[in-house]
């Protein structure tokens, strides 16, 4: 099903912008806008993701463009790497497909006082220790199991509740997007099945592309921002990528089922059933928003507990106190979420429903939603790459605010299907290949590493160069993997 090359019209606006005109297909209300370099746009046309950008442009109330970032690839309904903002005052809709099944899948990064050169020799032991300390893999339950009453508090308050249980510090709350707790969460809108799927999964990495990675800062691009983020060359960082686990998947699945009849009821015509949606201000839209926010809070809680487990493991492994290790959260971003945000549209302030599915918020310096410590430089934007090449820390830009609803890319983006990746790994030992590069990688099974091998992804550096070239973010630091645990 891949290999279906997209042959639709793309108008090159400049070096990093390609437009799908609004007259490309019936029902498009706005043009599509894809951010990419000349090289990446050729990869992007290798599947039907651009068609999905055009499909999203048909959603009622969509504002300016249906956008896609350079890490775009074919998803279900919405492409992955998409940004769509809708105006509730103009009948704007919210779509569970515009958030994805893994609600608030996201990433956070912690700084340490460790020097990469000092720990390189013990990486294998360290990664093995982390692997045994942090639940990962398919169907793995966690150390923390929450009953319905505790789960409701977690779903209402996210990181704030987890920290109140002694599993973090106040700085952790401050250094999360939305302070790790999005307002308006409705635990009553979450089904019993969703609670069942999530009750023992808070504090588990999960499988697929989720990971915990120990990294070395190898390059600083913006010394001022790097100093404020607490980053320097040679330093060790820890990156965590996970989401809302089974609870979020079930919330999304429930919502898509519950909204089956909503398009018909509201006179909305859709080119793809997976784009099912309801007006933001409708009862159905509000119910989904409440449940989605609750799942988002669960995800923030999940990453917070994973952080606690990582801190415990590192303190034990190195025999140093948390203060000596300096295990401070730099920032935590959501990259699968819909949020109500204020943006300028044609000179007017509008409260919009911004869907980011595989896209990261990238607010600039001075934005009131940023913590005081980062307000002078802008929001840290964390872009994980594959486990063999690099990850980046960027900072939000004013141009992102004016052009892409304060959004940028979210990662590298897949280029190989899982099957193709497994075939490409036949007869090879991915862990050994990575070890040759000085990277220790552990997964529950060999197939996991095969599916997630570096060649399965675009080069994150190319993706980052494209968003930086388009002005949607600025580079702060490049991080290179030293060791990774995969789900």
């Amino acid at each position: 099903m891949t290999g279906q090359v997209w042959n639709g019209p793309l108008e090159k606006i400049d070096e990093y912008r390609y437009v799908i005109p609004a007259n490309y297909k019936a029902g498009m209300r706005v043009p599509g806008l894809i951010y990419a370099s000349a090289e990446l746009i050729e990869q992007i046309k290798n599947d039907q993701a651009p068609e999905q950008v055009a499909n999203v442009a048909t959603l009622p109330g969509i504002v300016k463009y249906s956008m896609a970032m350079p890490d775009i690839h074919w998803g279900y309904g919405f492409c992955i790497g998409g940004v769509a903002a809708t105006d509730p005052e103009q009948g704007g809709v919210i779509s569970p497909g515009g958030v994805g099944y893994d609600i608030n899948c996201g990433v956070r990064v912690l700084r340490t006082n460790l020097e990469a050169k000092d720990i390189r020799g013990s990486m294998e032991k360290l990664i093995r220790f982390l692997f045994n300390s942090v639940p990962s893999g398919v169907g793995k339950g966690g150390k923390y199991k929450f009953g319905k009453s505790e789960s409701r508090q977690l779903l209402s308050q996210g990181v704030k509740w987890v920290v109140s249980q002694g599993l973090g510090v106040d700085r952790d709350i401050e250094c999360c997007e939305a302070q790790g707790s999005i307002e308006g969460a409705d635990p009553d809108a979450v089904s019993n099945r969703a609670y069942e799927r999530g009750w023992d999964q808070c504090g588990t990495l999960g499988s697929g592309n989720h990971f915990m990675e120990v990294q070395e800062v190898v390059e600083i691009f913006d010394p001022v921002a790097a100093e404020i983020f607490g980053l320097r060359v040679g330093q060790v960082t820890v990156m965590i990528h996970s989401g809302s686990r089974g609870l979020g998947y079930q919330v999304c699945d429930d919502a898509i089922g519950d909204l089956r009849n909503a398009p018909g009821n509201y006179g909305i015509s859709l080119p793809d059933r997976q784009l099912v949606c309801a007006p933001v201000n409708s009862p159905e839209g509000k119910t989904y928003l409440g449940a989605m926010r609750a799942a988002a809070n669960f995800a923030w809680g999940n990453r917070q507990i994973l952080t606690h487990l990582a801190r415990e493991a590192l303190v034990e492994f190195f025999g140093q106190s948390p203060d000596d290790l300096g295990l401070e959260l730099i920032y935590d971003v959501a990259h699968n979420i819909a949020k109500m945000e204020s943006h300028d549209v044609d000179g007017q302030k509008k409260l919009l429903c911004v869907h980011r599915k595989g896209a990261t918020r990238a607010f600039p310096a001075g934005h009131p939603e940023l913590p005081e410590r980062y307000r002078s430089v802008g929001q840290p934007v964390i872009i994980p790459g594959d486990m063999g090449r690099a990850s980046y820390i960027l900072v939000g830009s004013p141009k992102a605010m004016s052009e892409s609803f304060g959004s940028t890319c979210h990662g590298a983006g897949r280029v190989l299907s899982r099957g193709a990746a497994i075939r490409a790994a036949a007869g090879r030992n991915i862990a050994a290949e990575l070890a040759q590069e000085g990277i220790i990688a552990i997964s529950r099974d060999r197939q996991g590493l095969a599916e997630e091998q570096p060649a399965a992804y675009k080069d994150v550096s190319q993706v980052v160069d494209a968003v930086v070239g388009a002005g949607l973010a600025m580079k702060v630091a490049k991080l290179k993997p030293m060791g990774v645990i995969k789900g």
Binding site: M1, D47, H73, V138, E196, G206, Y249, Q274, G419
Partner: protein, 141 residues
Amino acid sequence: MTREKIEILEHTADLAIRINAVDAKELFELGATAVYQLIGEPVRAAGESRVYSFSLQANSQEELLHDWLAEALYWFQVRQIVFERYEFEVLRPTHVKVKAEGWKIDVEKSIIHIEIKAVTYHNLHIKPNEEGLTATVIFDV
């Protein structure tokens, strides 16, 4: 040329399958089997099988197949139950009522390859043909 009953298709981020069945009953039975095969190699725990009854209603046969597969996924991933024999009391395009015989999985002995997040509606089709029915389903993994 004989078609495989369950075919794994390529999809960049997710997993897709094609099911070739002679009729709706086989389509639903194969669908549940496909879910189990995609997830891994479940091993039966000690103990007797049990019969579970459930009923699903939807707007279309495609939606019903989605709900059926989601049900199989739920019972597997949350309740650790694999169904293997079915008695369909009702099987209409928009309604299924079934007694399903299922056994408990031995979680420690089973091999689990992937976590399926959900059955998606994207490109979900059931099409009649000379040999029966062909359905295409994409799973988010």
